[in-house]
Amino acid sequence: MRSMRTYTCKLKRETTKGGLVMTQKVLKLAGLCFLFVFLGALTFSALAREITIHYLTVQQENEGWPKIIKALTEEYAAQNPNIKWKYEYVPQLDLMQRVQLLAAADSLPLLFNYESGAPLFELIKANKVLELESTFKNLGIYEELNPGIVGVLKRLVNDTGLYALPLEMNIEGFWYNKKLFANHGLSEPQTWDELAEIAEKLHQAGIQPFAVSGIQKWPITRLINGYVIRKYGTDVMSRVIKGELKVNDAGFVEAARWIYEWGHKDYFGPGVNTLDYGPAQDLFLQGKAAIYYMGSWALRDFNNPEINKIGIENIGFFNVPLVPGGVGTLEEWNVNAGLTTSIAHAKFAENPEAIGNWMKYVFSHYGDRAMKELGLITGFRVKEMPEEVPVLTKMVLEKLATVKGGAFWFEALFDARTTSVAWDNAQLLAIGTMTPEEYLGELQKAIDEQKAK
C-alpha cells in the first residue's frame, strides 16, 4: 500500500516536472519562432528599402559617365546605406536588341544607354521612359541642365519632352593642323568653296587633305550633313522627315557631289573604306592629314600627348563654312549629347521619393565632377571651373557659349534601316562607284518606306 502511495507521489512529481519541462520547451520554441519572424521581418524591410542604381551602359565602369555616376552614388550611399550601385556592361553592337528585349519584358534597369531619336521615340510611345523635364523641375534641379542641349534632345523625339540625360555634350566641326596650314599660306575658310580650294592646294602639295574613317561610315555622311545644314538651315532633316523637303533636291545633290568629287580626287586618301576610327584619327594626329571632321569627344585623345604627336598648340577648329545660296550661319553648330542615358519609368515609379533624392544629389554635382575629373563637357552646369582646363577644352567651351542654333547629325531622325542605307551607300559615294543621284535616290526611297510604316 505504501509502495503504491510512494509510486503515485513519484508519478505526480514526475508529471509536474515533465509538464514544466514541456512548458519550457514550448516557450523556447515560441521564442525562437518569434525571433525568426522578427529577424525575417527586419531583413525583408531592409530589402524592401534597398534601392539599386543599376546602370546598363556601353562604357567601362572606370571611364566616362559610369565612373562619375558611380563615384557620386557611392558618396550619396555613405549617408544613405539603402542605395546600392550595380554596373552592367553591354557592347554597343548589342545595345539596341538588349534594351528592346528588357523593355518588352518590363525589366529595364533604372539607368540605361539608348540612342536618342527614332529608337528612343519607340520606347517613349510605349511609356517605358521617364520624362525628365518635369522630374527635374519637381526636384528643383532643372537649372542644372544646359537649355541648348535640352532643346536638341527634345526635338530629337518630336518635342514630346526630355527623355535623355545629356551626360556629355559635343560640338562638331573641322579640326585642322595649324602648322600645315601656315606652311602653305592657308587660313580658316569662311565658305565651302574656300574649303575646296584649301583641299586642292594641300593635295597638290602631296598632303592628304581629309582624314576620314570610311569603316565607321558616319564620318562621310557628316560632311554631307554639314553642307545641307548651311544650305537649308539647322532644321533640314526635320523637314525631310516631315516630307517638306526631299533628299534628292538640288542642295542635297550639290552636297553629295562634293563628296563624290573629293573621293575621285583622292582627298580622303587611297583606302578610305578600309580606315577605322583610330587609324583615321592617327593620320590627323600624326600630321599625315590636314583636316579632320569630328566631335569634341575627340578632345580626350587630342589632350593625350601619347596619341597627339602634332601638339595641342597645332590644332585649330572651324565651323562648317557657308555655302552659296544657303540660309545657315556660322553661329549654328552641329551639337549633340553623344549616346544618351535614359531612366526607366517603371523602376523610378517603384520608389520615386528615394530615387528622386538620389537624382537630386548626383545630377547637382555631375557637371562639376565630370569637368574636374575627366575634362568632360556635359549638358550640366559647371559651377566651379577647375583652374587648369586644357586649352582646347577651353576653346570648345567658348565656342559652345556662342552657339545660336543646334543641328542634328544626318541620321538622327532615321530608323535603323534608313540609317544603314545612308551609311552603306556613303562608302560607295566616297569611292565614286555610286553617283550622287543614285545615292540620294536610294536614300529618299528608304525615307519614304520609313514614313509609310
Binding site: T274, A416, S420, D424, I431
Partner: protein
C-alpha cells in the same frame, strides 16, 4: 561449347530484336536524344517559320502578315543582291576548296610518301588554317591587303616589283573584296577537303592502281580514268559540306569586310542578321532565314539524289 555459345548469341540476337520491336524500349533509348534535338534545333526552326508570318518587334508588338514577308523578299533589292552574292560566292569557293583539296590529296598520295616526316609536316601545315580562329584569319588577311596607313604584304610586294598600277585598296572596293574573301575561305578550308579526299584515296586498293599502271595509265589518265570515278561519292559528300558552308558563310565576311563597302560583300546570312537584330524586323529576318534553309535543303537534296544515282 561452341554450339552453346552460338545458341546464346542467337538467343541474344532474338532478345535484342524483340526489344527493338517494342516501341516502349525504342522510345526509352531514343527519347533523350530526340528531346534534346527537338529543343535545340526543331523548335527554333518552327519558331522562325512562325515569326516569318508576322511583322513588328517586341516593344511595338507583332502583326500577322501572312506571306507578305515572302512577297516582299522578291522585291527587295538588298535581298536579291545578297542572294546573288551568296550564290556567286558558293560557286567560286566550293570548286576552289574541293579542287585545291583534291590536288593536295593527290600530292599526299602520289608524290609524298605516306609515313614520311615531310608528308606529315606538309599535311599539318595545310590543315593548320582549319583550326585557326576565324577572326584571327580575317585580321591576318586585312593586314595582308592593307593600303593605309601603310602597305600590307601584297601591296608592298607590288610596290617592290614596280607594279604601281596594281596597288589598290583591295578590301575597300567591292569587286576586289569579293576575291579576297573567296581566297581566304578557300585557303582556310582546302586542308580539310585534302584530308577528306586523301582518306578516300587510301581506301583505293593499291593493286588497282598498280594494274592500271601496268595497263599504261599514268599521270593525268590515272587520275581521270581511275581515281576520280572511284572518289565520286566522296566528291559529292564534299560538295554538300562545302556548299552548305559557303551558302551560310557569316563570321569570315563579318570579320573581313563587315559586308562592305556598301553592301557589296553582304551574304544572305549577314543580311538576315542585320534585318532581324539591327533593323528590328524580326519577322522579315526570319523570312530570310527560312528562305536560306530551303535553299540549303534544295542544294543538299539535289546532290544527295546524284549520290544515290552514282551508288
Amino acid at each position: 561449347m561452341g554450339g552453346a555459345c552460338l545458341s546464346l548469341l542467337e538467343s541474344g540476337d532474338h532478345a535484342m530484336e524483340r526489344i527493338l520491336r517494342d516501341w516502349k524500349y525504342v522510345f526509352f533509348f531514343v527519347a533523350p536524344a530526340l528531346i534534346l534535338y527537338s529543343a535545340l534545333l526543331l523548335v527554333p526552326i518552327f519558331w522562325s517559320m512562325g515569326y516569318s508570318l508576322f511583322d513588328g518587334f517586341p516593344i511595338s508588338g507583332f502583326r500577322f502578315m501572312g506571306f507578305g514577308n515572302y512577297l516582299r523578299a522578291w522585291k527587295d533589292q538588298d535581298f536579291l543582291r545578297s542572294f546573288w552574292f551568296s550564290a556567286k560566292y558558293a560557286l567560286v569557293v566550293t570548286p576552289g576548296q574541293i579542287g585545291l583539296g583534291f590536288l593536295l590529296s593527290l600530292l599526299y598520295f602520289l608524290v609524298l610518301k605516306r609515313a614520311s616526316r615531310l608528308s606529315v609536316l606538309i599535311r599539318t601545315l595545310v590543315f593548320f588554317p582549319v583550326v585557326l580562329p576565324t577572326v584571327a584569319v580575317a585580321q591576318m588577311f586585312v593586314k595582308l591587303f592593307e593600303i593605309t596607313p601603310q602597305y600590307g604584304l601584297v601591296n608592298a610586294i607590288l610596290d617592290v616589283l614596280g607594279l604601281d598600277g596594281w596597288i589598290r585598296p583591295f578590301l575597300g572596293r567591292g569587286d576586289t573584296a569579293f576575291w579576297v574573301a573567296a581566297s581566304m575561305n578557300i585557303w582556310t578550308a582546302m586542308g580539310f577537303y585534302a584530308v577528306l579526299l586523301y582518306s578516300g584515296l587510301l581506301d583505293i586498293p593499291q593493286e588497282l592502281i598498280e594494274s592500271a599502271r601496268l595497263d599504261g595509265a599514268s599521270g593525268w589518265n590515272l587520275v581521270r580514268l581511275i581515281i576520280t570515278p572511284l572518289l565520286r561519292p566522296l566528291f559529292i559528300t564534299s560538295t554538300i559540306f562545302s556548299l552548305n558552308g559557303t551558302l551560310k558563310v557569316f563570321d569570315q565576311i563579318l570579320a573581313l569586310t563587315g559586308g562592305g563597302p556598301g553592301k557589296s560583300t553582304t551574304p544572305l546570312t549577314l543580311y538576315m542578321y542585320r534585318t532581324a537584330f539591327h533593323y528590328n524586323q524580326y519577322g522579315y529576318g526570319s523570312t530570310i532565314a527560312v528562305i536560306l534553309t530551303i535553299e540549303c535543303l534544295l542544294v543538299t537534296g539535289i546532290l544527295s539524289f546524284f549520290r544515290q544515282k552514282t551508288e
